[in-house]
C-alpha cells in the first residue's frame, strides 16, 4: 500500500538534501476531482502532495519543458528533477532514456505503484455517482475503489470506473525508479488487446466510417500532441512554419518548408495529422492514454496507438518502455524480422 506520508517524507528529504531542484507531483485541484500538477521547490510545500487513484496525469511531459528551459539557461542547474511516476509514466521515462532525450541523472524518480488496480476515469465515475460530490477515492487492494461522497462510502468495482488504459495495463507499478512506494503487484489481464480486437473485427468500410466520423470531430487543438511525453520534437510535421529559424536561415529555406498538413480541420488533413502522429509513436507509445484523456471531443486515439503496439508485439516481439537499453523498434533490424510485407 502506498502511504502518502511516505511519499511526502521522501519528497521532503530529497528537497532538504538539495538532491533535486524541484519535484513534480500531484496536488488537489481547485475546480474538480482530478488533482493537478504540483511543482514543489521548498520542503515545507510537500504537504500539498496527494496520491490516490485520481492522479491520472502523466507528469513526464514536463521533462520536455524542463529540457527546453535548460538549453536556454546560461548556467543551468544540473540537479535532477524529482518526479512522481506511476507504472505507465515510468515506461515513458525509459523511452526518453532509450532515445537519449534525457539522461538517467536528470531525474529522481519517486515511483508509486497503482496497487493492483490503476487510476480512474473521471467521466465514468461522474456517470456512476451522478451529481454527488466526491470527497475521497481509495484503492481497497482488491478489485474495488472506495468512493466517499457527502452521502457516505460506496464500493465500486474497479473495472467499472478504471481508465481504459488501466484495464489493459501490462505493469501497474513503476519499472524504473529511485524510490519505490507500494507493491510490485501485477494484476492479471486476460487479453491486453481486447478493445482493439473489436475494431479489427470490423470490415474495411465499417472501419472507414468509424474513423471518418471520429477524426472529422478533430478541431486541431493539438492537446494530444501537447500532453504526450513522446511528442518532444522542436518542429512537428503538423506545423506550417518552421520554429527552428535562426538569423542564418535563408528566405528560401523558409519559403520551401513543405506544408504537410494544412490548417483546415477537414478529413484529409485530420487523417494525415493523426496517422503521422500514430506512426511516429510506433514502438514508443507506452499507453499512458493521456492523448485520449486530453481530447475535448473524445476521439478514441488509444485505438491508433494500441494497433501499432499490437503489430510491434506480434511481428517483432517488441514491447515499449520496459528496457532503456533496448534498441528502438524503428531503428533496429534483426535477421529473424518478418519480411513478407516487402514485395
Amino acid at each position: 500500500m502506498v502511504s502518502l506520508e511516505d511519499l511526502k517524507k521522501e519528497a521532503k528529504q530529497i528537497l532538504k538534501e538539495n538532491k533535486v531542484k524541484y519535484i513534480i507531483g500531484y496536488k488537489k485541484s481547485t475546480n474538480g476531482l482530478m488533482p493537478v500538477p504540483a511543482f514543489i521547490k521548498e520542503p515545507e510545500e510537500v504537504e500539498k502532495l496527494v496520491w490516490d487513484p485520481t492522479c491520472v496525469f502523466n507528469l513526464t511531459r514536463y521533462l520536455v519543458d524542463e529540457k527546453r528551459r535548460k538549453t536556454k539557461e546560461k548556467e543551468p542547474d544540473e540537479r535532477p528533477v524529482g518526479l512522481v511516476v506511476k507504472g505507465c509514466d515510468s515506461r515513458a521515462i525509459n523511452i526518453l532514456l532509450q532515445e537519449k532525450f534525457i539522461n538517467r541523472e536528470d531525474v529522481y524518480l519517486l515511483g508509486v505503484s497503482c496497487e493492483n488496480t490503476g487510476v480512474l476515469d473521471e467521466k465514468k465515475l461522474t456517470k456512476k455517482i451522478k451529481g454527488e460530490k466526491v470527497k475521497k477515492v481509495e484503492f481497497d487492494e482488491k478489485d474495488n475503489f472506495i468512493i466517499t461522497t457527502q452521502e457516505g462510502k460506496t464500493k465500486i468495482p474497479a473495472k467499472e470506473i478504471l481508465a481504459n488504459r488501466c484495464l489493459e495495463c501490462k505493469a501497474n507499478f513503476p519499472v524504473i525508479y529511485d524510490v519505490l512506494l507500494g507493491e510490485k503487484a501485477k494484476r492479471s489481464i486476460d487479453n491486453p488487446f481486447e478493445s482493439i480486437e473489436k475494431i479489427e473485427s470490423l470490415s474495411t468500410e465499417e472501419r472507414w466510417t468509424f474513423w471518418k466520423k471520429q477524426l472529422d470531430k478533430c478541431i486541431r487543438c493539438y492537446a494530444c500532441r501537447s500532453v504526450c511525453p513522446m511528442c518532444y520534437c522542436d518542429e512537428c510535421v503538423a506545423d506550417t512554419i518552421s520554429f527552428a529559424v535562426t538569423a542564418d536561415t535563408t528566405a528560401e529555406e523558409k519559403a520551401q518548408k513543405i506544408k504537410w498538413v494544412e490548417k483546415s480541420p477537414v478529413s484529409s488533413e485530420n487523417f494525415i495529422y493523426h496517422m503521422v502522429r500514430a506512426i511516429h509513436l510506433a514502438g514508443r507509445c507506452i499507453d499512458c492514454g493521456e492523448c485520449e484523456r486530453a481530447c475535448p471531443l473524445d476521439i478514441p486515439l488509444r485505438f491508433l496507438n494500441r494497433k501499432l503496439e499490437k503489430e510491434a508485439k506480434e511481428l517483432f516481439g517488441f514491447e515499449a518502455g520496459f528496457d532503456p537499453d533496448q534498441p528502438s523498434l524503428i531503428s533496429c533490424f534483426k535477421d529473424e524480422d518478418p519480411e513478407d510485407f516487402i514485395r
Partner: protein
C-alpha cells in the same frame, strides 16, 4: 413578447420551421455538440453544455474566402466565395454562449465589417434556454455580469417550467419564429409568471463558483505585466489550444492559401481558428517572437480577456461558461488564477 409553450408541442413548432437549418444539442460519444437535424423530435433542451459553443456555427473554424486559379503563371483568376444563403435556428443556446456573440459582434463589426461573420449572424435565430440549474460544474456567469437567464444576444429565451416552457422574444427575428406557429403559443398565466420569477431567483443562487471583487482585477493586471507570477502560473500549461478554441468569446484566426493543384496553381484562401496559445501565432518570419514562452502566452490570454478587452469594449471578454476550466487537460483554473491576481502582493 411573453408566451408559454407546452413541452409536447415543441416538436410541432419545430415542424413549422423546417425551411430553416435547425441545430440542436446532441450527445455524441461522451460530450454534447450542436448538430443540424431535420427531425423535430431531436430537439433536446435538457443537456449540460456543449463542448463547442454555437460560435462554431456563426464563426466556423474553417471559412473559405476565395478561390484562385493561375493557369497562365502570372495572371490569376480570383473568385470570391461567400457563405450560402440559408436561414438557421439554433435551439438550446445557453445565455453565456449567446452573450459571447455580442462580444464577437463588436470584434467583427466596426469600420471593417466581416461580412462572413455577419451573413451567418444575421441569418441565424438564437433560441436560448435558461439554466435553471447550472449546466456545468464550473459555471460562473454571475461573476462576469451575466446571469443564467440573460437575454443578451438571444432572439428568444425559453425557460423550463416543468411541463411547459415560458417563452420570451426580444427581436423581430424571434417573433417571426413564433408567428410561424401562432396557435401553439398561449399567454402566460399569473402563476406561470410567478413560477418563472421563483426559478430565476433560485437559479442564480445555485451557481457556486465565483470571482470576488472582479473590479479589482483589471487595475491589478495593469501592474503585473512584468511579474514572475506568469512563469509560476504557466508551469503546468501544455500550450494546447483547448482553452481558446472552446472559449465562446475567443475570435483569433489565421488566413492561409491551401493548394489543391500545383500546375496550374489552384486553391483556396481559407480562414481557420488560431490561438494566442500556439507559439507560431506571433512568430515573425525572421524567427523573432514577441511572445516566446508559455508565460507570455498565458499572460496574453488573461490580460486580453480581463484588461485589454475591458479597456476597448467595457466588458470582460468572458461569459463564465467554464469550458476553459473543465476541459483544460491539466486543470488550470481561470478562477484560481484570477483570485491570485486580485490578491497578488497583498
Amino acid at each position: 413578447m411573453q408566451k408559454v409553450l407546452t413541452k409536447k408541442s415543441l416538436p410541432q413548432w419545430v415542424k413549422k420551421l423546417l425551411s430553416y437549418t435547425i441545430y440542436t444539442p446532441v450527445e455524441e460519444d461522451d460530450h454534447w455538440n450542436f448538430v443540424a437535424t431535420d427531425n423535430p423530435e431531436d430537439i433536446n433542451l435538457d443537456y449540460p453544455l456543449t463542448t463547442l459553443s454555437p460560435k462554431k456555427i456563426i464563426f466556423p473554424q474553417r471559412e473559405i474566402f476565395l478561390e484562385f486559379c493561375d493557369s497562365t503563371e502570372g495572371n490569376p483568376e480570383v473568385k470570391e466565395v461567400l457563405p450560402a444563403e440559408k436561414s438557421a435556428v439554433i435551439f438550446g443556446v445557453r445565455p453565456c454562449d449567446a452573450k459571447a456573440l455580442t462580444f464577437t459582434d463588436k470584434v467583427f463589426g466596426g469600420d471593417f465589417k466581416d461580412i462572413y461573420y455577419w451573413k451567418r449572424r444575421n441569418q441565424t435565430t438564437l433560441v436560448g434556454i435558461s439554466c435553471n440549474t447550472p449546466p456545468y460544474t464550473n459555471c460562473f456567469c454571475v461573476s462576469v455580469n451575466g446571469s443564467p437567464y440573460s437575454k443578451e444576444g438571444l432572439d428568444i429565451l425559453l425557460t423550463d417550467l416543468g411541463d411547459k416552457y415560458f417563452v420570451e422574444t426580444y427581436t423581430k427575428k424571434g417573433e417571426k419564429l413564433l408567428n410561424l406557429a401562432k396557435g401553439l403559443f398561449k399567454s402566460p398565466t399569473a402563476k406561470d409568471k410567478k413560477d418563472l420569477e421563483k426559478i430565476r431567483i433560485d437559479s442564480k443562487k445555485k451557481i457556486k463558483r465565483q470571482i470576488k471583487n472582479i473590479k479589482k482585477i483589471p487595475p491589478k493586471l495593469k501592474e503585473m505585466f512584468d511579474s514572475p507570477f506568469w512563469d509560476e502560473e504557466s508551469m503546468s500549461c501544455l500550450r494546447c489550444g483547448i482553452c481558446t478554441y472552446l472559449c465562446p468569446t475567443c475570435h483569433c484566426f489565421d488566413i492561409n492559401d491551401e493548394i489543391t493543384s500545383s500546375s496550374p496553381i489552384k486553391g483556396k484562401r481559407i480562414r481557420t481558428w488560431d490561438t494566442c496559445q500556439f507559439p507560431d501565432f506571433t512568430m515573425h518570419s525572421s524567427g523573432h517572437n514577441p511572445r516566446p514562452d508559455k508565460a507570455s502566452r498565458l499572460r496574453q490570454r488573461i490580460l486580453h480577456k480581463f484588461l485589454y478587452f475591458v479597456d476597448r469594449y467595457q466588458n470582460y471578454q468572458c461569459t463564465g461558461c467554464g469550458r476553459c476550466i473543465s476541459l483544460c487537460p491539466v486543470g488550470i483554473d481561470l478562477l484560481e488564477v484570477l483570485d491570485k491576481v486580485r490578491d497578488y502582493g497583498s
